[in-house]
Amino acid sequence: MGALTGFWKMLGNIGKRVFFRREPKISLFLTTAMYQTMIDTLAESLGGNYEEAMEILINLTRPLSEEMISNILFGTSVLGIKLKTLLSKFSDFKEFTFFVDLSIYAFFGPSSKEIFGKVRYIPATESEEKVDTYLVRLKSCPFCYPTMVPPEKLGTARFGKTVAVTIEQMIQLSQDFLQHNFQVTARETRCFHHGDPFGEIRVWLYPRDKLDLMQQNAYLKKIK
């Protein structure tokens, strides 16, 4: 396990700012408007079925999204240091939250502080689902605010699913790299669109030899 030092944290904090500054960016307003209308367009093509539209969207975008995250995680260097080198310093479950926070900042920049809370780690012994869990809280949500589609129309789907999948894939690829044998699964368990006072993405790390525990996870039954 890599030793976490203040040095690596400091480097990570500088690196996330450098990454965000140097990468091409796009307005969040424009992104959320396009995201909404892409879902509307798909749903309209499916006779107004938003639930199916979200499912198709996620299934279609998963492979590209995974490729994109993999390229960032394993192909990016900031200040001459490979991101995977930094990742290897945060292999401890609790310390890994720093890496997730850092990745969220790298994608959303300073706005990430308006949208996301600090990532929390819940050890398997304290988790309702009996597996190591990460909680990502959303203080506000750019993805569901612009919609006029009532939540019932989405059924078991959630507008924030793409964010949940991105975080899920990022953690899965990181855990694979760290040679931790987990099946990572994430769901948007709380959602402003459904009337909750905050949004929440739960990420569960299921040991591959205990995948049957997934059967007991009530969230996985009611949320796609």
Binding site: I26, L30, T31, S45, L64, C141, P142, P197
Partner: protein
């Protein structure tokens, strides 16, 4: 994929019925913006975050798949209609969450420059034609197209990749124009002439005044 021709609009660009259809859609979108009420009000208006941006690469896994889905399920003409419609619809949503933009005055060129600032595209104006001091027609040369550059390539297609973009540019201006009521030209039509084939290439759009 179907190779049938897309409906050509150039010949009826000045047909009163065609213009009326565009105008009615703009007025409908203005009503949408005025009546917008989020169904998730606790999600906090995005307007509170000034100049919020995100890294573009993270957004690029979605559009190619939506584009591919439409191409697979509809013929060429219908795909183009749906792609344009997608770009058009994004504008009222954009103004709904970023309403202060709506009342900002500006010329045609200033408004188009404003879009570039949001999308981080770099546009220059070519071959401008004016009549009585009002722009009638010009070609927009656009680098770093939000759809065409740094994205995942889609093969076997002759449908310009950035159709949503032209409809977005068109509706962005038209809504502002009819909302403010004193802009010249009043309405424009934007179409794709050429799309970028690599990251150093550019897209060309023809912009024409309708009213």
């Amino acid at each position: 994929m179907s190779k049938e021709k897309a409906p050509s609009v150039s010949e009826h660009l000045h047909d009163p019925e065609f213009i009326k259809k565009i105008r009615d859609q703009v007025l409908q979108d203005i009503e949408y913006i005025k009546n917008f009420k989020s169904v998730a009000p606790k999600a906090k208006p995005v307007t509170e975050w000034k100049n919020a941006k995100m890294v573009k690469i993270t957004t690029q896994s979605i559009y190619p798949q939506v584009y591919g889905f439409l191409m697979k399920n509809f013929n060429r003409a219908e795909t183009i209609v749906r792609l344009r419609e997608m770009g058009r619809r994004a504008v009222p949503v954009f103004y709904s969450i970023h309403g202060q933009r709506l009342s900002k005055k500006g010329s045609l060129l200033e408004v188009l420059r404003e879009i570039g600032a949001h999308s981080r595209e770099r546009a220059t104006i070519k071959e401008q034609t004016k009549k009585n001091g009002i722009i009638q027609k010009y070609v927009l040369k656009k680098y770093k197209c939000v759809f065409c550059t740094e994205g995942y390539p889609v093969e076997n297609t002759d449908i310009p990749y950035c159709y949503p973009s032209v409809a977005f540019w068109q509706q962005y201006y038209n809504i502002r124009s009819l909302y403010l009521g004193n802009m010249k030209p009043r309405l424009i039509y934007v179409d794709v002439t050429k799309t970028a084939e690599n990251d150093d290439d550019y897209c060309l759009y023809s912009v024409e005044a309708l009213e």
